[in-house]
């Protein structure tokens, strides 16, 4: 089973909860950091990295000998990643979504799709946690291809925790829709509620079953619990606001070490999410 740990709002504690879920697990578990623009789960898991390999996107290369300057490539591209000024064809790699339309439409067969490295995948281990982390190269804009490659490392039968990118756009959608269920992490503030609603709206569209975790809770009856109750969304975890957590975080320690009382609730989450599928 693949569990997406996601949120609309950034900084709510996706990485904290992902690492806590992985640490609380009693058997073999895979943690996949798919927040490829700022992967930081490794700081709380401290894995021994065994392998690092690049990930590639296919981008067009134009053979000027064969190009007739017809301009079909530029007209078919939905992303303005290729444009033709007569026989001068310009390719903007960072805008390319690797759809391959330009290569297919070219009547002269002048376009070939060639791999270009845009990120990397780290694999390693820390105890019973198999650790995988996607990392988008600096200056690259397209996170989804690296996220998809990272997700290919998930196990078929075991438990996979997927630390997702924030927001509700392509990176979030790419990571969440590949999972069987999701835990949406938020905080009990008006901003937290606002962005949770966006994440809920999106995830309902995707048809991925989900529950909610609230982080930094000072009162268990809060705006999020009221919203979840009204919407019939299972509230699966409330993490109390605590200075101990902040201190552990600043030392790169998972919350399990300072709040061992959470472990039982954390261990129950995969089962509760599975029941929703």
């Amino acid at each position: 089973m693949k569990i997406a740990v996601a949120s609309g709002k950034g900084g709510t504690g996706k990485t904290t909860i992902s690492c806590a879920l992985a640490n609380a697990a009693q058997g073999e578990v895979t943690l996949l950091d798919c927040d490829v623009e700022e992967p930081n789960s490794r700081f709380f898991i401290h894995p021994v990295i065994e392998e690092e390999r690049p990930t590639y996107n296919l981008v067009p290369t134009v053979d000027p000998e064969k190009c007739t300057g017809c301009g079909e490539c530029g007209r078919v591209c939905q992303f303005s990643a290729i444009t033709s000024l007569g026989k001068v064809v310009m390719v903007f790699n960072e805008l390319c979504h690797s759809c391959g339309a330009c290569a297919r439409i070219c009547p002269a067969g002048a376009i070939e799709e060639t791999p270009r490295a845009t990120g990397s995948i780290l694999s390693g281990r820390s105890g019973n946690i198999r650790f995988i982390s996607g990392c988008l190269n600096v200056g690259e804009a397209m996170a989804p291809p690296v996220i998809r490659e990272t997700l290919k490392q998930a196990t078929e039968s075991g438990l996979n925790i997927v630390d997702c990118p924030p927001g509700t756009s392509c990176p979030y959608v790419t990571a969440v829709k590949a999972c069987d269920a999701a835990l949406l992490v938020t905080e009990p503030t008006p901003f937290g509620l606002h962005d949770l609603k966006l994440a809920v709206e999106t995830i309902r569209e995707l048809g991925v079953p989900f529950g909610v975790a609230v982080n930094r809770v000072t009162d268990e009856h809060n705006v999020i619990s009221a919203y979840c109750c009204g919407e019939g969304i299972p509230l699966l975890l409330q993490v109390p606001e605590s200075r101990r957590v902040a201190e552990a975080y600043s030392r790169g320690e998972p919350i399990n070490t300072v709040m061992p009382e959470l472990n039982e609730a954390l261990r129950a989450i995969p089962g509760k999410l599975e029941a929703l599928i």
Partner: protein, 120 residues
């Protein structure tokens, strides 16, 4: 010489639009005859990305020699440069004033983009 000027107006008294990629339209001005025509560019306004590239391709296809606009980003500049279209930037002037400035040699061609791209 043929010049494409970014604008939201319909004649020479209209101000030069600060945007190039997302300019609502281009006024194509012929310096020899003083005649001009309009080229609609509104389809780029909603482009998720690459508006500058498309606008640059569009004016290059209109075979202009120069562009007058407010700001030009790096990708648009790269396309215009490859098409041998000179880029002149100015601000706070009408199209006729800008054309006048260009004629009098008071606008110098840009050698690179004058603003960062912002397609992300």
């Amino acid at each position: 010489m043929k010049i494409a000027v970014s604008t939201s107006g319909n004649d020479l008294s209209a101000p030069v639009d600060t945007r190039f990629g997302r300019a609502p339209q281009f006024l194509i001005y012929h310096t020899e005859t003083g005649a001009f025509s309009l080229k609609d560019n509104r389809q780029r306004l909603d482009a998720a990305q690459g508006a500058g590239i498309q606008s640059a391709t569009c004016v290059a296809e209109a075979q202009v020699d120069a562009v007058i606009t407010g700001n030009c980003g790096p990708k648009a500049y790269a396309v215009l440069d490859a098409a041998n279209v000179k880029v002149y930037t100015c601000s706070g002037v009408t199209i006729s004033e800008a054309v006048d400035l260009l004629r009098k040699g008071k606008l110098s061609p840009a050698e690179e983009a004058n603003v960062e791209g912002h397609w992300v």
